[in-house]
């Protein structure tokens, strides 16, 4: 007997999927980023002979091994929920992406095997360190490939490819219009996200620990994590711009919804998160430069200037375009969309803000790396600088959740109708024949 159209009481089936996927991605992105950061750290330890790198890499690898269970459990629960709650939609995806899902499964298997082997043979391969480092990078590679496979599916849902025959369905669907920018955005994002979380954790431990050697280590770890976090964050606006450009060209209505329409508040929040991350990171750098082994007063003064400019540019990004702030909860002032706010328009103000933020970001990271070359006195960081790291860790999680919500809600153009596969399969799993660019989907029978 068929089970029929199941729904979940109280929170609804859409929220079930959102909760499982968002939770999963918070673990999965961290694991991919952390494995690559740990492998790089192990390599740096091998080359520089500095003990912090090795200690950090091993501890992080251990944490990743333990965390893998949570990420994997959420993934499999999500697939189960999708098969149960959205069976028609899932079978369409499975038909189009059979090979992609199959490759993903094996990449996941490869990742889990190599990550466990990597951690387990740490002592055994102590005298063959180069080989051991390769284990870490191979594990990271498998993770990236698994991510690439699911990115093809996720990007296809927003911008289904123009496919007119069964023969070229797989290749063109895989390389749909937003697949490459999404994959790049997530590739860079993994490093940034994991870096900020590591920095936040280090800040917490630094404030809690009572041992001097641990204080020095966690101080160093906060610095190392933040370099990954902020260093990769400042690349994101350019790639994000490319991604949005792809969405605007292939799904203009979705672009309008998330950038200009009722859901544009998601980008106001993003600008706010970016402002907090940038200002907190730059302030941390300014503070840290006081403890450079070789005093660098000029560099410090320049970085103080950079902090001011970062604040200026990021605040420019935060200003909303109009008074239609969050219409869903009635946060509308004046005439709503008709009430324009000075300095709030995308062109030129937000472009100036974003480009300025990136340029100043590169500048301050370059200054900081210059000072890092001669080293810092570890263990002397102030309390507030560690709090800044913890704020970054908290805000980067909000950034991830906001961006995940943005991509998925982009398919709900005024909910009229809302789509699972944009223009092709509606939220109630009925198949739309008109306007769907992927012709083979139309061959199915509508529900």
């Amino acid at each position: 007997m068929p089970i029929g159209n199941l729904d979940v009481p109280i929170i609804g089936k859409n929220v079930i999927i959102a909760v499982l996927v968002q939770s999963h991605i918070l673990f999965a992105a961290f694991i991919i980023g952390a494995v690559l950061i740990a492998a790089t750290s192990e390599y740096l330890g091998m080359v520089t002979k500095q003990t912090y790198y090795e200690r950090f890499a091993r501890n992080l690898a251990r944490f990743v091994v333990l965390l893998f269970a949570s990420g994997a459990a959420l993934a499999i629960t999500f697939v189960l929920a999708l098969v149960t709650l959205f069976p028609v939609f899932f079978s369409i995806l499975q038909n189009i992406f059979f090979w992609v899902f199959l490759v993903e499964a094996f990449m996941f298997l490869g990742q889990i095997i190599i990550v466990y082997a990597w951690y387990n043979v740490w002592d055994k391969l102590a005298y063959r360190k180069s080989l051991h480092v390769v284990f870490g990078f191979v594990a990271g590679f498998f993770g990236l490939m698994a991510m690439t496979m699911i990115d093809a599916v996720a990007s296809f849902m927003l911008t289904p490819a123009e496919v007119t025959s069964q023969a070229d369905l797989v290749a063109r669907s895989f390389l749909n219009q937003t697949m490459v920018p999404l994959n790049m955005h997530r590739f860079i994002g993994n490093f940034s996200y994991a870096g900020f979380l590591i920095a936040g954790w280090a800040g917490w431990r630094y404030l809690r620990t009572t041992r001097e050697d641990d204080r020095e280590y966690y101080d160093w770890m906060g610095h190392f994590g933040l370099l990954w976090g902020f260093g990769f964050l400042i690349i994101q606006p350019v790639i994000g711009y490319g991604y949005l450009k792809g969405i605007r060209e292939s799904a203009p209505e979705s672009f309008n919804t998330i950038m200009l329409g009722d859901k544009s508040w998601v980008f106001n929040f993003l600008a706010l998160w970016l402002a907090v991350l940038s200002i907190a990171s730059t302030a941390y750098f300014v503070h840290k430069l006081r403890f450079a082994i070789k005093p660098m007063e000029t560099l410090r003064k320049l970085s103080v200037g950079a902090l001011g400019l970062t604040a200026l540019f990021t605040v420019l990004n935060v200003i909303p375009t109009n008074a239609n702030l969050i219409p869903q909860i009635g946060l509308v002032f004046g005439q709503g969309e008709a009430t324009k706010i000075p300095l709030g328009s995308m062109y030129p103000w937000k472009y100036i803000g974003l480009i300025g933020m990136m340029l100043v970001g590169f500048f301050v990271v370059a200054l900081y790396l210059r000072a890092s070359a001669t080293g810092f006195h570890w263990g002397r960081a102030s309390r507030w600088s560690q709090v800044a790291l913890m704020i970054c860790a908290f805000v980067v999680v909000l950034t991830m959740v906001t961006m995940g919500y943005t991509r998925e809600t982009a398919r709900r153009v005024d909910n009229d109708p809302a789509y699972l596969i944009n223009g092709c399969v509606k939220l109630d799993q009925t198949i739309v024949k008109e306007g769907c660019p992927t012709t083979p989907i139309m061959e199915g029978k509508g529900g």
């Binding site: 009481p9 109280i10 939770s23 959420l74 869903q328 909860i329 999680v397 959740v401 809600t409 809302a418």
Partner: protein, 48 residues
């Protein structure tokens, strides 16, 4: 309308009380799962 029936309608995308409730409920569950799983992993991983 019966509350149970009411709660099975609408979606997060709609500007209704139910939609907004579901949005925040979803967010709260995500944060709860995330922090508790991370905390658990820390707990099983820490040295005695």
């Amino acid at each position: 309308m019966d509350l149970a029936l009411l709660l099975q309608q609408e979606s997060t995308g709609d500007p209704t009380a139910i939609g907004i409730f579901r949005f925040f409920a979803g967010f709260l569950i995500i944060v709860t799962i995330y922090t508790s799983f991370l905390g658990f992993t820390y707990w099983i991983g820490k040295d005695e």
